[in-house]
Symmetry: T
């Protein structure tokens, strides 16, 4: 099983960006840990980060036939990007929406997600560890053990 992990705008700065809000783990830390978990549960993982909405859509398109599922932390685009939701629908790729922080405890404009209605699952607030939960959750959705 191949799982793609996509990160959106400003997440290249994870770990250095407002660490009291987003934590001290960098995307590299996340990637390292996810690779370990992936090996443990026998799946492949790939990683991409883009600051542009169009570039993220390109990344999604590139997953057609190349991934069985995706985890996306679309950052601020989560709250406005119908085009990203359409991109996943266009290639019929199941995805999990993830946020590092609990978006419901922040500004009102972060409460509504344009992606969530197209996702198989959504999680937020678990910090960098959330990526691991998302991976386990998505894999369980795609390949239920029973």
């Amino acid at each position: 099983m191949r799982i793609a992990v996509l990160n959106g705008p400003n997440l290249n700065l994870l770990g250095t960006r407002e660490p009291s809000v987003y934590g001290k783990d960098t995307l590299a830390d996340v990637e390292q840990r996810l690779r370990a978990v992936a090996r443990e549960i026998g799946v492949e993982v790939t990683f991409e980060q883009r600051n542009g909405e169009g570039e993220l859509i390109d990344c999604v398109h590139a997953l057609r036939g190349a991934a069985d599922g995706a985890i996306i932390n679309a950052g601020a685009y989560s709250h406005s990007s119908l085009a990203l939701r359409d991109a996943f629908a266009a290639i019929a790729l199941p995805f999990v929406e993830l946020h590092v922080t609990n978006v419901y405890a922040r500004e009102p404009e972060r409460r509504h997600s344009m992606l969530a209605s197209g996702a198989v699952g959504v999680l937020c607030g678990f910090g960098a560890y959330g990526y691991e939960l998302a991976l386990r959750g998505l894999v369980a959705k795609l390949a239920p053990t029973s």
Copy 2:
């Protein structure tokens, strides 16, 4: 570490209630699996289910001094119960909000949660497996490994 798992209205029927929507796992199945995970990661878990909002508040109060964190699937009360959010705040107990289904892909009245702004994390859409994710996520929040 002691983690309480609380389930709200109609969740006593999990597994038999609209299985095409909520899945075939019962609360007993969830409990059995969570106990196994809890043993694996070295925490204690307790379980309560109530159909009444007041009874759920009583359950939360009973956790004061008796639990270090909670996972709550408050069902339909998630969308209206300020009193439940107040109950967790009243005893300063960190909690994770969980839904079996992806509430963002259902009726509009399920999109807003009264609990979420008080939670440490929120997850939905992972079926019965979500309880295990919530447990791992909450424990990671309460006892970061580093």
Copy 3:
């Protein structure tokens, strides 16, 4: 055919509660008349009244396998209780929503029902006689004569 009649908060006071608004018939009067109608049309009726939302949900759950349909006057809970609608869906029990008064001619907060979208039929404004109409209407829905 077994029909359950459920009454919600404050309806224990029917007949004495603001009689200029709700009329002078008590729940006992309603029950007596409904039993007569039930005998006439060959169905069984049961009656429950609860002031608590959780208790009403318990009543609904108890109807699983014990009733073929329900009539509910959920009183003020009609306007807020997603959990009650979920309870009927959880056991796949057809129900009619009923109000003694014409809720559309009262305060704006009474105009919206959380139950109605899950009901097979809705009626209001016919006073205590509405229970009889609801019974006839529900039975006709469940067992169309042709």
Copy 4:
């Protein structure tokens, strides 16, 4: 007692119009059955159907001094016609609002009625049988047995 039954736009097609939604009974079937019920309970009934709002208002005006109550299925005009509500008020004629389908389980634009606040009672979702319920309910309102 004389009761007028008014039907609004598109109801001339009842029975052939989206039968999976509106049922297979025609207005003629409804009329036949209502006449039988009317005879049984000793009231007179008249029937009118119009596709135009102005024509429906004319029908209402014609009931002044000629009817003691009315049942109206105003179809889509229910959701916009203040003029029809005014027409009933203008001649002080009590009326019941009726819908064949459960309007609360359909598109949002069908949830709000401009007529309801002026009605003595409202019912929906009972199919063609609803006309009989409306007749019984209206007669009970106008001539309470005690």
Copy 5:
């Protein structure tokens, strides 16, 4: 293939009505040109114009079994008439919604259409020429060449 062209309120004045807004073509000009196009593409066209909502509904009903599709410029009724949308649904007739002007560049009350969700296609802003586009578009929808 038979296509009916329906025009609603004030369109009898097309060509003389605010020509700087609606253009100088009259309905007769439109009809003449459409007849030519219809001959070219081998379909029959009929034309009706009514200022009343009820009369327009009557026109729609008259198309049952007499037309394979319709083009409607419902004028100001587009923004309020659920009854017209219901009329097309009642006879299951595919239709195109058309406006002579670009309604999105005018007053806000012209931005929302009650018809559009039931249409097969919508177009506006092309002046009198829009009728020809609508005819070609509708015919293409009803009889795809491949």
Copy 6:
């Protein structure tokens, strides 16, 4: 100068319709008084009343070239009829909107007028006498004395 006075739905019942709200003057009384005022100020007046929106639009169209201004009491259509406002614009006829009652002191649905933004003046609350005020006001607008 020729002024047309148009009355909409239910105004045929003026004087008998809820007299405590609308007063005891009939449309005939209004007409008689307005004719006297018209003679006094040297203008011609005509009168039409229709219950249908389409018929009212027909009346407006008939004024093209036959009137210099209009007074309209569109009754309940005032609050919804964009088509009527369009009709006046279509023939570029200045008009005054009038209501017998003070619509701002009644139900909220009567506060918004679809006609007002196209009118030269608006007045309400002066009872049947308002027609005379509207006539004087409109004539003053059309033929300012200086």
Copy 7:
């Protein structure tokens, strides 16, 4: 009968203020003409203009026992001042609300009046002549001829 005419903010500049919008008549012109009309119909008129909301309230209070009715052009305060409406209610003085321009054809913030629900009548759009209409209308309300 004593009628007070009150003018609010910026109306001291009437005639010089945006004359293409408000016309060329000054308040002095208005006063002169109104005094003539008052003499003709046998009533007394007084005039006050204030730019401050509090000063206008003082003016209203001063009318207690000194006026039988009032005409107020409260200018921009019309759209926000509950205190002015309360002032009239406090001394139970009937009043007419007047605007020189048609406020419904201007910016949206001018469409809602805080005064209107307390007025006996409302008129706008008739320019300076509107004061005369308001005077005649108010006197007719206070002293119906029959």
Copy 8:
């Protein structure tokens, strides 16, 4: 005179619950002080606290014929419970709504009360001392000294 003091969800924890927000006084402290005030002004007081909405309604019903007025701190139910307001109306019992904190300086969801429109008076922000103010205020309402 008999006054009932009712407390709703989470108020059993008063004094220990977020003391920086709610203060350090417990319900027992409140009760002790209120008993002293009650003795001073010659009224009887009773006390109940419940976490469930249904249980609170039961408490209200139990006051029929047993109390002349009530003080209710309904906690978070204040903002959603139409059923509690109905309960007081059902037994025609005058009540004062009280909050320990100033709810208007907290989250937006605490600004709207479902109880307030049925109350004789409302007060908030005075901490535990507010109960004494409510008692004095209610008694003054029920037995004006003059």
Copy 9:
């Protein structure tokens, strides 16, 4: 301790203004009673009433260094005046917001207060006696006995 009592627009008419709504006590009565209570509890009180928003702001400014707290019945300005809230913040003066009537049982525009979020406490519905409650409540806030 020095407490200032400020009254806003129309409150100079208290006692004569709609006595069925506001009661028969005048501001002078209120002042007399408050002076007695002030003596009893050992505080000084001053009184001001203004109809203008600017004048009320001036009054607040004059309290800098001259008062330890304030009670304000800002009348209709409560619902719109951010400037008054700013005035109290500008001099960091704690204040209680008071209304003689229960504003939540009146028109919707009276439900929202611009002052309340800046107040230490809010009370309404207790008539003239409310001033005494406000004084006791404010003094208790400023000088807690323990």
Copy 10:
């Protein structure tokens, strides 16, 4: 005459993307057919597709002096991109907005277009054939035959 055809996010996948929704025609099919139509009516057409909003703006800018009109299917950006509308205005290029599907029959977030108020015409729901209609419509707008 030179017409540019611009396609936005996810339209590179047209034909393979949810074919039951968007049809089986690819952009290449659209281009081939449009070229044929262009030859027939004697205009030049160019084609661009971009997934990024900035890249689409670049494409629009590149049309300055190089095109006489444009057809844009901006996909999901239609519903949010003021910047694209600004881009057309910046170079004063007339454009037609096009959607392959009937956006009014899909999710509510697709009903509002940010582009439409700047377009000369809008059409949707005609599938790939819509591009041909848009081309004919735009050319007719730019070069009216008379």
Copy 11:
């Protein structure tokens, strides 16, 4: 060139009013610095501060023929005063709206300005220095160096 600087409610306390929010500069400091800048760029400046809305309107009126432009910090009136915007329009005086703090980073009720649509420019957040920026900006608007 003559520029008037107007300050609204509570700005007399600038420098002492919540200095952590509004800074330590007083209006006198602002005036002194602005006079220096005015000399440098060769314009005259005048200064007025009022706490009342009516008094501010009087100040604006007094500028007719006496100033070529104005800078206004209307404080809290910015968010509600249509009358002030009307005052500037009444004398056709160009003005800049200024706020000392960044109003967009404060309470929601400070985000909307009633003045801004009538201003030539708006600035906020630059503290007392903003007055100098406003002066330079306004002068540049009125006398472009070209």
Copy 12:
């Protein structure tokens, strides 16, 4: 001190884009003048313009450690881009939001800014000269003279 000046979509066309709205100064003109001002006040300035949101975010990221403040005219992205606000927060860079036109006097969709709550200051309406004001204002914020 190093200040970066960022320009967003369509601003590359400044000077040629709708000059009656945006003026005739090009970005090159702006840059030239700003460099002069920068020299005068002893700061360094850099300039970037991008049409893409992602590219603008990249520009912001590149300023980390390379600038002490930024001025951004984000054009139409101002009204929707949470990601840009996040970018500034991510590198803790103070910025001023600038618009060439007075956005409050244009279409409603330009009134709300997603950037403003994160800015230190906001200004609009001063044309190209606004960049100079923004520079002076930002420098003053970053290096207060006292």
